[in-house]
């Protein structure tokens, strides 16, 4: 009965989003016919994947790779051995699937996920791009419509990939060779179904797009978040996913988010991912991001610290007290980063609150006696 209701929900979802790709799925373990029109594409993406394997910013931590690869396998079933995950250390929100089965996942995406269900919906989306062979279809369409430059662009991008961040941003969903809106709708619909069929809470699919739209709106310049750049209008996408989630919600009562497991897996990397996010120099977006993460997990000292840093770097009117409040919240959590003391000191020093600055810098030196910037902090203390 539950399966029937699920099928009905899926049928409703498909009716909302239009037909899926008509092309047959490739068999598990599929490799391109090297005498056909796919040969050139595969040669290029194989070359790109070879470059990915030795790229300096590929995350090679066995536990994290096993977790993400395991989730892909759980979602992709018999295609598990066909799909290979590469985790790329770059703070942009993005993921991409290559036509040969390589899937790239940015650490900026992993930072933004609050639970396994959210990651499952994104991975389901990418798995669909592979299963429905969107890149190949796109290439064929480009050839048929005379957009030869697009094909050459893909080949050039693939051949030139030396750094994994470049690979994600050009091969998967970049400006040179992007998936069409219909393909994105298809990946949304089928990705939703893939993750939902494994019991992941359907509300987490629109949740991903809701927070991405919020971050996108906070961007200071015209460029869009890469993952959204070639996707249908964000509001349309959000509304469609929300409708699908609404219809699916009542079909079972044991939906899972696996938030605790996801948090456990991500925690060892959070500090580095947060520093990378802050280093982007986009504090308006970072404020939106850390407001969300710290609100969802207020006991997480690193999210609170990230929020404090984002406010300090944004430096708009009223940001100083908000930064100090966030740093103080971080210090009230278990295992707070000593850098929260430094943050309070910097904000207080700029605000002219010399006693608070002096106390905070002194506390930072006490909690991090070997900090790399201790000479600078000692210099600040001589100025207070």
């Amino acid at each position: 009965m539950r399966e029937r209701r699920l099928l009905l929900a899926c049928a409703g979802w498909l009716a909302l989003t239009g037909p899926l790709a008509a092309a047959p799925l490739p068999p598990p373990g599929y490799e391109a016919d090297m005498s056909g029109d796919e040969a050139g594409l595969w040669m290029q993406v194989d070359k790109a994947e070879a470059a990915l394997k030795v790229a300096p910013n590929i995350v090679r931590d066995p536990a994290l790779n096993a977790y993400v690869q395991g989730l892909v396998c759980r979602l992709a079933g018999e295609y598990c051995d066909t799909l290979r995950v590469y985790i790329v250390e770059t703070p942009e929100f993005n993921a991409a699937a290559m036509p040969n089965g390589a899937i790239m996942v940015n650490t900026g995406l992993l930072l933004r996920m609050q639970n396994e269900a959210q990651l499952a919906f994104v991975l389901g989306h990418e798995i669909t791009h592979f299963l429905h062979r969107h890149t190949l279809e796109h290439m064929r369409m480009a050839v048929h419509t005379g957009s030869v430059l697009a094909v050459i662009g893909l080949a050039t991008a693939a051949a030139g990939v030396g750094y994994a961040g470049s690979a994600v941003n050009t091969l998967g969903v970049g400006a040179i060779y992007s998936n069409s809106r219909d393909e994105e709708r298809d990946a949304d619909a089928n990705g939703f179904q893939i993750a939902m069929n494994k019991g992941y809470a359907p509300d987490q699919a629109p949740a991903v797009w809701r927070f991405m739209v919020a971050e996108d709106k906070a961007r200071e310049h015209s460029g869009r978040i890469a993952f959204l750049a070639d996707h249908p209008q964000s509001e349309e996408r959000l509304a469609t996913l929300q409708k699908a989630a609404d219809s699916a919600r009542s079909t079972r009562s044991d939906w899972t988010e696996n938030a605790d497991l996801y948090r456990k897996i991500a925690t060892p990397f959070l500090s580095r991912w947060i520093e990378d996010e802050l280093a982007r120099g986009e504090p308006r977006e970072s404020v939106v991001l850390f407001q969300r993460l710290s609100a969802a997990d207020p006991a997480n000292a690193l999210y609170q610290y990230g929020l404090g840093e984002a406010y300090r770097r944004r430096n708009m009117k009223d940001d100083a007290p908000q930064a100090i409040a966030a740093y103080r919240a971080a210090l009230a959590c278990a295992e707070p980063p000593a850098e929260a003391w430094r943050g309070i000191g910097l904000v207080a020093m700029k605000s002219g609150d010399r006693p608070q600055a002096k106390d905070a810098f002194t506390a930072y030196r006490a909690h991090a006696p070997d900090a790399a910037d201790k000479a600078m902090i000692d210099f600040y203390l001589t100025q207070l």
Binding site: P56, N57, G160, S166, L278, E282, R313, A372, M376, F379
Partner: protein, 191 residues
């Protein structure tokens, strides 16, 4: 109709006009790098056509190593412009910035310039001529995956910022050039 040979000459002229002029900076003589600041090079450097507020020296070509002298940066201005971005979006200097803020600004500007995984560390006070400035180290990567290192010396005074930044590949070039760059940074005089 223009004759082909004339067209070719015109095109060559236009191409040459777009080339970057390079001059030599001789060792042992004070060299002006902007904002009234002089430095003393120990070896001969190639100087790429200086612009107002921006002088670039290199030993092996700017694609490999470079020393940027970014001088006289006023409140509300970026360290330098980035193609395709408004200055406000690149990140701007504020006169009340602390050294930590300037470090964040350098990192964010480099990210927007197109470098990846830019990380700064070892922020410390450092002599800037007779004054006290600050310095820090950089690790980053080019879009092509070349791992790079950098070293920055900076100072804020009279509400303007001067940033001297050395960048080179972490393999061989950085270690080979950093001793002579250190001497340049230690030789700051003026203003």
């Amino acid at each position: 109709m223009m004759r082909p040979i004339r067209l070719l000459v015109l095109l060559l002229g236009a191409a040459l006009a777009g080339c970057t002029a390079v001059t030599l900076v001789e060792p042992g003589k004070p060299a002006a790098v902007g904002d009234g600041v002089n430095v003393m090079p120990q070896v001969r450097w190639n100087q790429i056509a200086p612009r107002k507020g921006q002088t670039v020296w290199t030993q092996n070509g700017p694609a490999i190593d470079s020393v940027y002298f970014l001088t006289g940066i006023a409140d509300g201005k970026p360290l330098y412009s980035v193609a395709g971005m408004r200055d406000a979006d690149v990140g701007i200097f504020r006169a009340n910035m602390l050294p930590n803020d300037v470090q964040d600004l350098v990192v964010g500007t480099m990210q927007k310039e197109g470098y990846d995984n830019v990380r700064a560390g070892s922020l410390a006070p450092c002599p800037f001529g007779a004054a006290t400035g600050f310095c820090f180290d950089l690790d980053f990567a080019t879009k092509d995956g070349l791992l790079m290192k950098g070293k920055v010396l900076a100072i804020t005074r009279n509400n303007t910022l001067n940033v001297f930044e050395f960048r080179a590949p972490s393999e061989y070039y950085f270690a080979a050039l950093v001793p002579t760059v250190d001497k340049i940074f230690a030789s700051v005089e003026g203003k």
